[in-house]
């Protein structure tokens, strides 16, 4: 089921690891479904990306949101030379500044899409900040965080809405 969902989302998703390899607190039964509208009851289903008007994206899985910047943003930024990310455990409110990406063009602030706590940061970016440009939706992810107010996800744009938003800015 999960694999089918990946195909629907598009070709730039990395193939899902085999089910047993996914980190789960219990072998069976499945953990309780997370309260995010639009997701199926299986917590293993990968949620579609949602976007902010500041060009960050978030994708929630098992109650943990992975955050990155969109392709539009990475193109606008130019080559990223440094990623400044918060410490694990930092508590963020929606729209709080949580770090910055420095490129040849500028130091650009990063704004938290949701309220939650940072659980992981992408340490690969320390030696390879260019991952943000090369793979902004996969290997170039920035932070993972808890989702303290799932309803905040509804305030973010879907993929389609974001595409329309970008077109309106470019005009």
């Amino acid at each position: 089921m999960a694999l089918r969902a990946v195909r629907v989302l598009g070709t730039n998703w990395a193939p899902l690891p085999a089910l047993p390899a996914l980190r789960r607190p219990r072998a069976a039964p499945l953990p309780p479904p997370i309260r995010v509208r639009g997701l199926g009851t299986s917590a293993l289903l990968l949620a579609a990306r949602k976007y902010t008007d500041k060009h960050e994206w978030i994708s929630v899985e098992n109650g943990i949101g992975t955050v990155g910047i969109s392709n539009f943003a990475q193109e606008a930024l130019g080559d990223v030379v440094y990623c400044s990310l918060p410490e694990v455990g930092t508590k963020l409110n929606k729209q709080d500044e949580f770090g910055a990406l420095e490129s040849v063009k500028a130091a650009s602030e990063l704004y938290s899409p949701l309220t939650g706590e940072v659980t992981e940061i992408n340490t690969a970016l320390a030696d390879n900040p260019g991952l943000v440009n090369k793979s902004c939706y996969n290997d170039g992810w920035l932070i993972k965080m808890t989702v303290d107010s799932p309803s905040e996800l509804d305030e973010l744009m879907s993929e389609d809405a974001y595409e329309k938003y970008i077109k309106s800015i470019e005009d």
Partner: protein
């Protein structure tokens, strides 16, 4: 009297801007609400705080600001840089040259009163560094048509094709700002000395500076003073934005015009911001000490995170100092600030708590002095 009139109208003007979301109805717009501000302060932290304040508080959707400022001798590093890699902190302490970290990216620069700083504030949509630099070049060419100045792809300004007279940095947040330096009559020789780091063995992923040969405008034409150049740039900006050529003087400590600005200044002056924001780095170096008639080699390995020592290993010739004392030093250095005053205080405190003979005291002081001068 005239100054007060300007201050009062400025306060009203700022109040129009001091809201993030201003209701569209009832807000009268002028054709192009650009304004030129000039700081009366030469304090780097106060002037950087003005940039922060404008970025955080002004609604720049349909407005633009040019901010002119100069500072007393200071080295300014970029947001993600390592001061130990970029400049001679020892020399700066001796000569009373300040260190500041700005919020924009880019490399390290030296400011003194012979350097002009220009900040162009716009909405993110209107962010365009090359346009700003073309404005500066145009202003200079209006002043002195024979001047050979041009902007490069890297957003540097070069004089006579070879000498850098301006470097650029920028920040994109709520709004955008692009700022740049402009060397008119700065102390070029002090600049070169102070922007050379003596510290060896540093491994870091902090953003590095790109060194360049520099020159002052005044060396090309002695009549080009800072005041003349600032006026010319302000005049060109006024023409571009179809506003009066009027420069409004601002005091960056005035809380009635800039509510909350003094807190911003404090943060920019804090050790946590200036040194603590340095990306994690490691030092692996040796130095020699001369003691009585022998030559001793000391090897130091340290990891520094948030400006504090996280890991510390000091290798000394065997038994030169009581191993227990060395161990205590290493243990106590962990968690302390990577700075000479803290190192010295720690060393003295340790020595007091472990009574030793005169010989050990001498050796201990030699080691600590050398560590401070070589590393910090």
């Amino acid at each position: 009297m005239k100054n007060m009139v300007i201050r009062a109208s400025l306060r009203n003007w700022f109040q129009l801007f001091y809201v993030h979301k201003f209701p569209a109805a009832g807000f009268r717009t002028t054709a192009d609400g650009a304004i030129i501000l000039q700081s009366v302060s030469n304090d780097i932290y106060q002037n950087l705080a003005v940039e922060d304040w404008i970025h955080d508080n002004m609604n720049l959707e349909n407005r633009q600001v040019l901010f002119l400022w100069r500072n007393s001798p200071t080295v300014v590093i970029g947001r993600h840089q390592n001061p130990w890699q970029e400049c001679n902190l020892k020399m700066m302490r001796q000569k009373n040259i300040k260190l500041a970290r700005r919020r924009s990216g880019g490399g390290t620069v030296y400011h003194d009163l012979g350097n002009i700083n220009l900040t162009f504030f716009t909405s993110k949509r209107k962010y365009e560094r090359m346009e700003n630099l073309k404005l500066v070049v145009k202003a200079l060419k209006c002043l002195r048509p024979q001047l050979d100045v041009h902007a490069t792809d890297r957003c540097d300004l070069l004089l006579n094709r070879n000498f850098k007279i301006s470097g650029t940095a920028a920040k994109l947040g709520r709004t955008a700002y692009h700022h740049c330096t402009l060397l008119c009559s700065a102390d070029r020789f002090l600049l070169s000395s102070v922007l050379k780091s003596p510290y060896k063995g540093i491994k870091s992923n902090a953003t590095p500076s790109v060194p360049a040969s520099v020159k002052n405008l005044f060396e090309e034409d002695p009549t080009l003073t800072c005041q003349i150049v600032m006026d010319a740039i302000a005049a060109e900006y006024a023409i571009c934005h179809q506003i009066d050529h009027r420069v409004t003087l601002i005091n960056p400590t005035d809380e009635t015009v800039f509510p909350g600005i003094n807190n911003k200044t404090k943060e920019l002056q804090s050790w946590e911001w200036i040194y603590g924001k340095t990306p994690k780095f490691s030092i692996s170096t040796c130095f020699n000490m001369v003691y009585k008639h022998s030559f001793l080699e000391v090897k130091v390995d340290m990891d520094i995170k948030h400006g504090r020592i996280e890991v510390c290993n000091i290798n000394l010739p065997e038994e030169w100092l009581p191993p227990a004392l060395c161990g205590e030093l290493e243990k106590n250095l962990i968690g302390s600030k990577f700075c000479p005053s803290e190192m010295t205080a720690l060393a003295s405190a340790l020595l007091r708590s472990c009574p030793q003979d005169y010989e050990v005291h001498r050796r201990w002081n030699l080691l600590c002095e050398n560590m401070t001068t070589t590393l910090m």
